[in-house]
Symmetry: D2
Subunit: 380 residues, 4 copies
C-alpha cells in the first residue's frame, strides 16, 4: 500500500512538471480549478479524513488549509467558493509542495499500522487523487488553450493513441443482462448494486465518430438547424454562439485546434473530442442515429476498443436500485450529484492507468466540454 | 368529434371567466404565460396545423398571429421570445376572443369532412389544449398570487378534494412489469413503446405527504442542512433564499398561503404542494425515505388514490426503448424536452377531466414550483 | 386653483383616451411604467401629501394603495419595486379611475380652504403630474412601439411641429451671466439659487441636428469608430449592439421608424430624436463640434426656437451653489438624483403646455433614449 | 532625462519586490489588474509610442505583446479584454522582467538623441508609469486583502503618515479665482485651460474625516437610512449589502481592517479610507455638511495639509472651457473618460513622489472603493 500510495502521489507531481509557476494559479472559468488547488485539495483529503481522524495528536500543517482546500464536503465545515479559487495567490506553489511533503511523510509513517477500514478509505483517497489527475490534464489544457499565446504543454503529448479503421456495427441480441460492479475489488458506490436489466436488441458502432465526420456535420449547418437539437441545447448554442468543438478555430478554410502538444491542424481521422452532450446528441440526430444508454454501452464494451475518450451516453446519472450513500462525509462523494447530469462511460487519454473499468460511471452537466469526451453511435 | 371539440374549447373559456381584462396580459416570470397568450396559442395550433394545411384557400385571421403565438415549434418559423409575451398589450383580449370564434367556426365547418389522419391530429390538438388548461390555472394562480392585494380567483375553488387518512405502505414484490401505453386509445409518443422492466421489491406509501409533515421538516431546519440536499438543490436554496413552499408566508407563528380561493391559513391535513423536485428529494432524505421511480409509481398506482397532485419521481425524462419522434413539426412536441427534466406522474386538481391516465408522463425542470405537485414516499 | 387643478388632471386622462385597457398594464423595461401606474401614482401624491395631512379624518380610498403607488419616496414607507409594476394586473384600470374620481372630489372640496403653504404644495403636485404626462407619452410610445404589430397611438399625432431651415450659428460674447430661476413664480428647487457665472465666448447653432445629418453619421460608420465615443459609451454601443436611434428600422435601403402616428419612413428634414447622451456626444465629435453646457444653452436660448426636443448638454446634473433640499419627503424630489445623470434643457412635443421655461433642468442617465430628446451643437 | 527615466522605472520594480511570483498573476475583480500586467503595460507604452515610432528598424520584443498589453487605446489595435487579464499565466513574470530590461536598454540608448517633441511624450510616459505605480499599490492591497490568509505586503508600511489634530474650518471669501494649470511644467490636458470662476464664500475643514467619526456614522445606522443617500447610492448599498468601508471587518465588538502592513484594529484617529463617493456623500449629509467642489478644494488647498488620501469632491469629471483632446492615440488618454466619473483631488500615501500638485484631477466611478481616498467636509 505504501508503494501504491507513493506511485499515485508522484504521478500528480509528474503531470505538473512542465508547468511554469504562474500556470498553477489561474482559474479562467468556475469549472476549471488552478493546478495548485488540485495539488492541495488532494492533500487535504488525507489530512482531513485519515491523519486528523486516525493519528493521535496529529497537528495540521496549517490551521486554515482545511477551509481553503475543501472542495464540496459540506459536512466538514465552511469552504472557499469554487468561483474564488483563482483569486488566491497564497499559499504559494512552494508552500503547497511543502504541504504535500509533510502529509506524505505522515502518511508513510501511518500506513503500515492502518486498519482494514482505514485502508479502504485510503483506496478511496487514491481513486480520488486519480480523478483529480484527469482534471489536472483537462484544466491545464483549458488554462494554456485560452491563453492568446497558445503555449504547448508538452510538445510530444499524444491526444490520440490509435486510429480506428473499422466503422461497422456490433449487434447485441435482446435479453437480460447484469449491470454494475461485483465489488470483488475497488469500485465507487455509484456502481452498486449489480442488478439485471432487460435490453431490446441493438447495434452499436465499433469506432468513435471522427473529426472528419464532425466537420461534415458543421458543413451541413448542423449548428444552425433547430430540429436536430434538444430545446435546452438549442438555447445553449444560441446564447454562447457555439459553432464548433471547444479549442477549434477556423483559419484559411481549414479547422485548427489547440492540443496539449500545441496549435495544429485538425486531423480528420482522429476521434472528435471536446463536444458537449448537446452537440453529441445533435450530431447523432443529424446522422439518423442515437447515443447508446449507459447499459447498452456496458453490455457491448468488451467488443470494441475504448479508452481514448469519455463516451457520451443518453442516460441520466441516477442511483441504481437499492443504492445507499455511505455514512459520514464520504457519503457526499457521489450521491449528491445524481441530478441534472448525464453519464459518460469508458476512459480517456487523460485517465490515469488502472483507473478505468467497464462499470465506471463518469458524469457531467450537459453543456460541459472541457473533458476529453467523444461520440459513439447506435442505430435507431 | 365536433361535440368533443366544442366541449374542450369551451372549458378554456370557462377557466378564464372569473378574470379581469388586465389579468389576461401580464407575465411575472418567463415560465408563466399571460392567459391571453394561452387562449391565442391554442387557437394558433388549429390554424397552423389543421386549417392552413387542410382547408383549401384558408385565409388566416391575421397575417402576424402565426409569428406572435407560436410557442416553440422551430420548424414553422420565427417566434416571439417567451420572455416578451408579457409586453404585448396587443392584440387585445377582445381580438383574441374574435380569433377563437373565427377559428372555431372554421373548424366546425371542416371537422365533418376530416380524414382519419387529420382526426388524429385533432385529437393531439385537443390534448394540447387540455395541457394549456392546466397551465391556465397555474399561471393565473401565479399572477394573482404575486399581486400584493392577493385577489382570490374563485372563492369556492377547492385545491384539495379529499383528505387521506391511511399513511401505510403498499408492498410490491420483485418481478417483471409492463410499462407504457398500449396505444388502444389516445396517448402521447413519450408513453411508447410499452415494454417490460425488472423491478426489485419496494414499499410505497398510500398517501401523499401532508402540510403538517412538511412543517415538521421546516421546523427541524430542513432548509438549512446541506446533507439533505442534492448539490444543485443546495445551490438553488441559497441563491434564491428558499425557506418554504411557493405561496407560503409566515404570520404570527403560523403558516399562511395563497390559494385560488384566496389567502388562508395552511391546513395541516392537506397534501403539501408547490414544492420543487429539490425540496421533494430533500424532504424524503430527511424522512429516511426516497422518491419512487416513475416505473414503481406506474406499477403501484392502482393501489392508491391519485389525482390531487403531480407526484415527483426520481426518474429523469428520457425516451423509452425504441422511441421515435413523429415526422414533421409535431415531432417537436415531446422529444426535444428529453433532457434536464424530471418525470412527474399522476394528475392534479387543475388537470382537465379525461386528461389523465397512469402511463402519462409529465415533466419539469427540477427547480420549478408553480404546478400543483406533491410528494409520495418509498421506503429505502 | 380649482380650475387649474381640474385642467391638469383632465389632461392626464385625455392622454390615455386612445388606449386599450391592455395598454395600461404592461412594463416592457424597468424605466417605462404602465400608464395605469402613472394615473394612480399621481393620484397617490394628493392623497399622501395633501389629503391625509390636511383633511381631518380623511379616509384613504384603499389601505394598500400607498404601498402600491409610491414611486420613490423612501421616507413615506415601503414601496413596490419599480421592476415589478408591470406584473400588477390589479387594481384594474376601472378601479384606478374610481380612485382618481374619489381623490379629485375630495381635492375639489378641500382646495378652497387650503392655506398658502398647502397651495404651494398643490403647485408642486400639479407640476409633478405634468412631468408624468410627458412620461405617459413616452412610455405609451415605448409600449406600442415595441409591439410587433406597431399599433399607432393617434394617427394624426405630430412629433415635429415645425422644420428649421436656418442652420447658422449664434455668437455669444465672453462675459458674466446670470443662471437659474428668480423664483417670482413656480420653479423647482434644482433651478435655485440664481447666480452669476463666467462664460468664454461661444457659438451655438440655431437649429437642431436633423435626421438627414444623423443618417450621414451612420453611413460614415459613426457607430463603428471607437475614437468618437466616450469609453462608457463605446462599451454601451457594443454590449447592446446599438446602430441607430431607438425606433429606427432599416428596410430596403431606407430608414423607417415607429412614431406615435405609426410606422413610417424617416423624414430627413425633421430633428433627430431618441438618441442617448452617448450618441449625441459621438455625433458632435464626428461633426468636429461639441455639445453646449447647460449654462451656454440657458444664456443663448432666447435666440433660437426650442421646445421640440429635450436638448442634450454636456453638463452633469449637480446642485447650484447654495442648493438646499427642502425638508421632509418633498426634499427627496430632486436632490437625490444629483449623481450619474446629465442635464437636458428645453422641452419636447410631449411636454405639457406651461410646463417649460429656459431655466428648467431635466436629467437622465447617459444611455437612456426613450424621451423625445435631440442634439444642438456648439463650435469647438 | 535618462536618470529620471531610470529612477521612475526602478520604482515600479521596487514596489513589486515584496511579492511572491503568484501574487503577480491574479485579478480578483475587473478593476484590479495583475501586477505583472501593470509592469508589462507600462513597458508596452514605450515600445508602442516611442521605440516603434522613432527608432529606425526597431524590432519588438515579442510580436503579440502589443495585443496583450494595450489597456484601452482603441486606435492602436485590438486588445485583451480587461476582464481576462487574470487568466493569462503567460508570459511569465520572468518573461515580463526580460521585456522590461529589453525596452529599458533600448530607451537608454535612444533618449540622448530624442527630439523635444519626443521628450514631451517621454514625460507623459513617465507620468503614465507613475499612475500605474499608485495602482500597483492599490491592486496589490486588493489581491492580498481578499486572500483568506491576509498576508501582509510589508509589515512596516504606514498607510497614515501623520495624525491631524485641528478640525476647525477655513473660511474663504466670495470672489473670482483662477483654476487649472499654468502649463509652466508638466501637467495633463485635463488641467487646462487655466480659467477664472466665480465662487461664493465657503468654509472647508482643515482635517480629513477620521475613522472615529466614521464609526459614529455606522453606529447611528447611517448605512440604513435612505434619506442620507443618493438614489443610485442607496441602490448600490442594498445590492452589494455594504455596511462599512472596504477591508473593514467587525470582530468582538470592534472594527478591524486589512492594511498593507497586515490585519489590525482600526485606529480611530487616522483618516478614514476606502469609502466610495456614495459613502462620502452620505456621511457628509449625516453630518449636516457637504463635500467641496473641485474648485473650492483647489482654491483652499494651500491652507490645509493634504496628500494622505484622494479627496472626494462633488464635481463631475468634465472638460474645462476650451478643452481639446490632443491628436492621435495619446488623445485617448483623458478625454474619453469625461462621463459618469467624479473628481478626486489631492494625493495619497500611494502616490509616487513628485506626482502631485493642487491642480491634478483624479477621477473614478462613484461606487469604487479600492483607492486610498478620504473625506473632507464643507459647511452647508
Amino acid at each position: 500500500m505504501k508503494h501504491h500510495y507513493q506511485a499515485i502521489r508522484k504521478l500528480s507531481e509528474k503531470i505538473c512538471a512542465p508547468l511554469q509557476k504562474e500556470d498553477y494559479v489561474v482559474q479562467p472559468v468556475p469549472d476549471v480549478s488552478p493546478p495548485k488547488w488540485h495539488l492541495a485539495h488532494t492533500t487535504w483529503f488525507w489530512e482531513e479524513f485519515v491523519l486528523s481522524q486516525h493519528v493521535k495528536n496529529y497537528k495540521r500543517f496549517h490551521p486554515r488549509y482545511a477551509f481553503l482546500f475543501n472542495s464540496y464536503y459540506d459536512s466538514v465545515g465552511e469552504r472557499v467558493l469554487r468561483l474564488h479559487r483563482g483569486n488566491m495567490s497564497r499559499p504559494t506553489v512552494d508552500e503547497v509542495w511543502a504541504y504535500r511533503a509533510h502529509v506524505d511523510e505522515q502518511m508513510m509513517a501511518f500506513l503500515p499500522s492502518a486498519s482494514e477500514t482505514v485502508i479502504r478509505l485510503v483506496e478511496l483517497g487514491l481513486n480520488h487523487e486519480q480523478q483529480h489527475q484527469e482534471l489536472l490534464y483537462t484544466d491545464i489544457k483549458y488554462i494554456l488553450g485560452h491563453n492568446p499565446l497558445f503555449p504547448p504543454y508538452l510538445e510530444d503529448f499524444k491526444e490520440t493513441l490509435f486510429i480506428e479503421q473499422d466503422h461497422s456495427y456490433i449487434h447485441i441480441p435482446q435479453g437480460s443482462y447484469s449491470i454494475g460492479h461485483d465489488t470483488t475489488c475497488f469500485s465507487f458506490d455509484n456502481e452498486h448494486a449489480r442488478h439485471d436489466i432487460q435490453l431490446p436488441s441493438f447495434a452499436i458502432r465499433k469506432s468513435l465518430v471522427t473529426n472528419g465526420e464532425y466537420i461534415e456535420f458543421i458543413k451541413d449547418n448542423g449548428y444552425k438547424n433547430p430540429l436536430l437539437w434538444y430545446s435546452d441545447g438549442w438555447a445553449w448554442v444560441n446564447e454562447f454562439k457555439i459553432d464548433s468543438p471547444l479549442y477549434w478555430y477556423p483559419k484559411e478554410g481549414n479547422w485548427y485546434r489547440y492540443a496539449l502538444s500545441g496549435f495544429e491542424k485538425v486531423n480528420e481521422a482522429e476521434p472528435v473530442t471536446h463536444i458537449s452532450f448537446y452537440e453529441a446528441a445533435a450530431f447523432a440526430e443529424w446522422k439518423g442515429m442515437r447515443l447508446p444508454t449507459e447499459f447498452e454501452w456496458e453490455v457491448a464494451s468488451d467488443q470494441f476498443q475504448w479508452g481514448q475518450r469519455w463516451e457520451h451516453t443518453n442516460s441520466a446519472y441516477l442511483p441504481y436500485p437499492g443504492y445507499r450513500k455511505p455514512a459520514g462525509a464520504v457519503g457526499e462523494y457521489n450521491g449528491k450529484f445524481m441530478i441534472n447530469q448525464m453519464v459518460l462511460r469508458g476512459a480517456s487519454v487523460a485517465t490515469p492507468p488502472e483507473h478505468s473499468r467497464k462499470t465506471y460511471r463518469n458524469f457531467f452537466h450537459p453543456p460541459l466540454r472541457w473533458q476529453f469526451n467523444g461520440i459513439r453511435l447506435c442505430q435507431k
